[in-house]
């Protein structure tokens, strides 16, 4: 048997369902408070977001760009630490410098490419039997004589080994903390800007070979 809208029983049920439900006045406020309690705090949501596994799509070019950026950061970090890589040397006691010095450039010793950053050990030598101290200042140590003090060896020979990457560097010896002395055995820098002679050392790193170039 099927009832219809005219059926008094159905009509009574419908009327009951249509009757407004009486609500307490603070009903809306209590619902909203419950909703707010259900939302986690910002740190909890952030932590959840971080822990949730995700699929990240990166193109090969994008990956290369990221790798290059990271390499750049590493290079900058290395460069900013470069001065500290030069070891401090103990000074010795003597008096006046002589005019003789010897310097062994590392050109040709290192087969790696220029710019690759492979350092060659370059020995700087000054014969200065009268000097009380001799230091080295140049492009490789921020021109800070306190960073590379040379050690005295036999017969007033002052030496120091400095690791240098391929390139061309200007330098001077600083005798007794105040006198700038160019290396008599090394080429001079052309056109000194500050009125004192400056020497240059070139550290090679390539294997230059003519490939049929013409004049």
């Amino acid at each position: 048997m099927h009832g219809t809208a005219d059926d008094p029983l159905i009509a009574r049920i419908a009327a009951e369902l249509r009757r407004p439900v009486p609500l307490r006045p603070d009903f809306d406020a209590r619902v909203m408070a419950a909703v707010r309690r259900a939302i986690p705090s910002l740190p909890v949501r952030a932590w959840t977001w971080l822990r949730e596994p995700r699929v990240v799509a990166v193109s090969p070019l994008g990956g290369l760009a990221m790798a290059a950026g990271l390499a750049g950061l590493l290079v900058v970090g290395t460069i900013s630490r470069k001065p500290s890589a030069i070891s401090r040397q103990q000074s010795a006691v003597s008096r006046q410098p002589s005019a003789v010095s010897r310097q062994q450039a590392a050109v040709g010793r290192q087969p790696s490419a220029v710019g690759a950053g492979a350092a060659a050990s370059v020995t700087f030598v000054l014969v200065a039997p009268q000097a009380r101290s001799v230091a080295l200042a140049g492009d490789f140590n921020d021109w800070d004589a306190a960073r590379v003090l040379m050690r005295r060896e036999a017969s007033g020979l002052w030496t120091v080994d400095v690791p240098l990457a391929p390139g061309r560097y200007r330098y001077v010896f600083v005798v007794d903390g105040r006198r700038f002395v160019a290396d008599p055995a090394a080429p001079r820098a052309v056109g000194d800007d500050f009125g004192t002679p400056t020497s240059v050392v070139t550290v090679g790193g390539g294997a230059l070979r003519a490939a049929g170039g013409s004049l």
Binding site: G69, G108, D142, R168, D193, V200, G204, L208
Partner: protein, 217 residues
Amino acid sequence: MNARILMLAGALGGLVAPAAARAQSERLAGRLDDRTRAAVTALVDSARAAGLPADPLVNKALEGASKGADGARIAAAVRALAGDLTRTRAVLGRTATEAELVAGAAALRAGATPAFLERLRADYPREPLVVPLAVMADLVARGVPADTAVRSVLALVRTGMREAELVAFRQSVERDVALGAPAGAAAAVRVNAAERDFANTATGQQPPSAPPRPRKP
């Protein structure tokens, strides 16, 4: 996608560049007075924005500070070097390394023409040019006329000299000059000898000065 990559690269560059600038600023701190440091920093920032290496400029300023030069002289020297680096890069191109730019700037300062740099780069697009450029400048410093030094280096590189041999050539010229030979003549004589050796090697002949090879029994 390209825009995304560019943004990514830009963001990474944005991270690196301030770090480099900060490191260089720290190197100048305490070495220059405020006014000079501001002038040098402006020059360095400008050079960096143009894609030039900043370290050589900072080194130049520190050299001036170490030698007790006044601020105006330091700023002028940094400005002059920035100009030399700009001219060098214009010739050697954006792929030139910092070491090549420094050596090229020294060569220009010594009297080399941009055409010399251009010729070297054109002949050896993938070889490091630091040593040939440096040898040219060093020869001039020893008194060899600039045009002779340029011709010498181009000729020697053409003979296939390696870096160490180029430096040995420079040392030979220095010895000759120390013994009283005119610098230009010493370079020319040494270049002629190297070219003669090269020609003899190429044709299978022995150089006249070489001892005869022992014959096989």
